[in-house]
Symmetry: C2
Subunit: 375 residues, 2 copies
C-alpha cells in the first residue's frame, strides 16, 4: 500500500489529533494546506508559509499542466525544487479545475478532453495522465485519484452515475500509481448530498484493493454551493463510513467555522484559497470572521492586525498602515494580508489540535461558534 504512517495521539469525540509522517516531513493534523496553485502561494514567500505553521501545501495539477507544463517542471527538478518548497506537497487531480475553469469539456469513460482557459490549447486528462503528472512529473508526496466533481444540486441518478465514474477512475488511478515507497495516493468520495451514494462511494473506496488500495480518503464535491449546513450534514453521514486509522481530507474547505465544524466531525486535512484570495481583496480573518481593512474606521487605528499571532504581518504593522496600502493598491497590502491570513488559519489549527489534545474540543467548538460572525 502506497501510504504514510498516520499516528493519532488523541481522539475527543469524533475529532482527533495526530501526525501523518511523510518522507518530506511530519504533517500535524488536523492540518490546513495553503494552496500554491501555480507553484507559488500567491503573494507569500515559502519561508513565510512554513514559519506560519504550514506543514504541507497543495499544488494544482490543472494549472501546472497548462503552465509551465508538467514535463517542464519535471525537467526543472520537480515541483518541490521548482517552487522552493522542501516540505510535503499534495496535488489535486485536476478534475475539479477542469470542471470549474476549462472550456469545451468533453467527458468520456476514457477521461476528459478540454481547452485551456489560458490559451485555448487542447488537452486530455485521464486517470493515467493525471497520476503521471502528479506522481511522476510534479513529484507530489500525496496524489489524488482523478474524479468528476458532481455539480450541485444533482439528482440521485446524475450523482450516482458521476460517483460510479469516479470509482472506476479511482481504480485506474490506483493501477497507474502502482506500488511506491515514499508517495501516497488518496481516494475521493463523491455522491453529492445523497447519503446512500456517499456511503456506497466511501465503502467502495475503502474496500478497493487495486495496488494495495488508498492511503487516505478525501471528501470531494463539497464547498460547491451547498452551504455550511448541508456540508455538515454530508460529513455526518459520510465520515462514519471511512476508516479511523487513515487520514480524512475535506477538499476545498473552507472558512474557519467550516474547519472547526469539520474537525468536530472527524476531518484531518483541509485546503482552501481563502486566506490568500481574500487577503488580496483587503479581508482580514479573525475568530469573529473576516473584516475589510479598507473600511474608513481603520484609517487611524494604530493597533496591529492581531497581536496574539506570532507572525510579523500580524504584529508589526498598524491597521492604519495596511489600510493605506490596500487603499493605495500597493503590493505590500496584498502581501501582508495574505501572510497574516495564513498565519491566522494555522494559529487556529494549532488551537484546534491543542483543544483536542486536552480533550476540550467540545468547549472550544462551542466558544468558537458563539463568537463567530461578530466581526
Amino acid at each position: 500500500m502506497a501510504t504514510f504512517p498516520f499516528e493519532i495521539f488523541t481522539s475527543d469525540g469524533n475529532a482527533r489529533t495526530g501526525v501523518l509522517k511523510t518522507s518530506r516531513g511530519d504533517i500535524r493534523t488536523p492540518a490546513f494546506m495553503p494552496v500554491g496553485t501555480a507553484g507559488t502561494v500567491k503573494g507569500v514567500y515559502m519561508d513565510q508559509v512554513k514559519a506560519a505553521g504550514s506543514d504541507i501545501i497543495l499544488g494544482n495539477t490543472y494549472h501546472l499542466m497548462l503552465r509551465p507544463g508538467a514535463e517542464r517542471i519535471k525537467k526543472m527538478g520537480g515541483l518541490h525544487e521548482f517552487g522552493r518548497w522542501s516540505g510535503p506537497i499534495l496535488t489535486d487531480s485536476g478534475g475539479f479545475q477542469v470542471w470549474s475553469l476549462s472550456k469545451l469539456r468533453k467527458m468520456t469513460e476514457e477521461g476528459v478532453k478540454f481547452q485551456s482557459h489560458i490559451d485555448g490549447s487542447r488537452h486530455m486528462l485521464s486517470p493515467e495522465r493525471s497520476i503521471e503528472i502528479q506522481a511522476d512529473l510534479l513529484g507530489a508526496d500525496i496524489s489524488m485519484q482523478l474524479d468528476e466533481c458532481t455539480e450541485f444540486p444533482s439528482t440521485f441518478e446524475r450523482a450516482e452515475a458521476s460517483m460510479e465514474l469516479s470509482l472506476r477512475w479511482g481504480r485506474r488511478s490506483l493501477e497507474a500509481f502502482g506500488e511506491r515507497n515514499s508517495q501516497a495516493i488518496f481516494a475521493i468520495v463523491q455522491g453529492s448530498t445523497h447519503p446512500e451514494l456517499r456511503q456506497r462511494s466511501a465503502e467502495a473506496s475503502v474496500n478497493e484493493t487495486t495496488a494495495g488500495g488508498y492511503g487516505g480518503f478525501a471528501i470531494g464535491g463539497l464547498a460547491v454551493g451547498e452551504g455550511h449546513q448541508a456540508m455538515c450534514e454530508t460529513l455526518d453521514f459520510t465520515v462514519p463510513h471511512l476508516p479511523a486509522h487513515r487520514p480524512r481530507y475535506l477538499m476545498g474547505v473552507g472558512k474557519p467555522i467550516d474547519l472547526v465544524e469539520a474537525v468536530y466531525r472527524g476531518i484531518d486535512m483541509f485546503d482552501c484559497v481563502i486566506p490568500t484570495r481574500s487577503g488580496r481583496h483587503g479581508q482580514v480573518w479573525t475568530d469573529k470572521g473576516p473584516y475589510n481593512i479598507k473600511n474608513a474606521r481603520f484609517s487611524e487605528d494604530s493597533t496591529p492586525l492581531d497581536v496574539h499571532i506570532e507572525c510579523p504581518a500580524s504584529r508589526d504593522y498598524s491597521k492604519a498602515y495596511v489600510h493605506h496600502l490596500v487603499r493605495s493598491g500597493e503590493l505590500l497590502g496584498s502581501m501582508l494580508l495574505s501572510w497574516h491570513n495564513i498565519a491566522y488559519f494555522q494559529n487556529l489549527m494549532r488551537r484546534v489540535r491543542k483543544a483536542i489534545q486536552a480533550r476540550e474540543f467540545e468547549a472550544f467548538r462551542a466558544d468558537f461558534a458563539a463568537n463567530y460572525g461578530a466581526a
Copy 2:
C-alpha cells in the same frame, strides 16, 4: 546649520566615497536610495530593502500628502513608524510630482495650486507647506527645498525665470526649516542644460546663508528626457560649482550606467524607481543592462538570476521559475524581481565604493561602460 557630518574617506578623480552620519544611521556614499513612494518600497519588505544594502530610502511628499495625508502620518507617529523603516529617510519636496502627475496646476509666487491625480481634491504646495509636511509631519531626516522642475527643453529665458523662482522658494524653504539638530535640508540646483544658469543656481544656493544655509546640494531637472550625454555634460559644468565637503545628490537618476558616470563626476547620492518599476514589468538588471525574464529562452533555464549577489531573490530561484511566475502574472514574480533589482543596484554601489576606496575607479568605470549594453 541644519546638516549632518559628512566624512569623505577617499577621492579618486572627482569620485569620492565616504559616509553621511545621520542620527538614524550612517549613509555610505555613493548611495542609492530606493524609492518608497507611498510609504512602501513597492513589493519589497523593508527588512529586504535594508539587507540588500540600502542605508536610506526616499519618500514622496506629493503622494503622501494626498494619501493617507501628512497630518494623518504625523498622528500615526511619523513616516518611519508608519512605514516600519527605522533608518534615515529623505523626502522630495513634492514639486516634481506636482509637475509630472497633478492636474490643473496654477503656479504663483506663493506656490502651486493643483488637483490630486487620485481624487481631484484641491491642494496648495508652498515652500512653507512643503517643509511643514517633510520635516514636521512626515519627520524626514533630509528635507528638500521646494523647487520648480524646469521642463526640458527650455529656452534660456524660461529656464532662468524658473531657476530664479526655485532660488526664492529655496530661501523660504530654509526660513521655514529654521535651525534643527537632527534633520537636514538640501538645496536643489536648477537651470536646465544651460551652463550659466546652472552656475548661478549652484553659487546662489551655496552662498545662501538663511538659517545657516543648506546641508547638501541636489541637482534637479535631469532625467527628464535630455538623455545620458546631456546629463553627463550638465554634471560636468554644474558639479564644479558645488562645495567638496557637502553631499551632492542627483535626483531621479538612474540606470546603472548613469550612476557610474555620475559618480565619476562627483555625485554622492541617487534615487530612482527603476529597480522596482522595471521589476514589476519582468526586467532583470545586470552589469550588461536589463533583460526581460519573460523571454522564451528562460523557460527552462535552471540558473539563478545572479549567483554573485548575496540576496535570496538573486540566488535561490531559477530563471525558469521566475519566468513562469511573471508569465503567470503571479505577485511573487514582481516581488522577486523588485528585490533582486534593489540588491543589484546596491551591489553595484558597493563595488563603486570599493573601487574608489582602492583608487581604481577609472578602470572600474571603463570596464563597466565596455560591458554595458550587451544584455
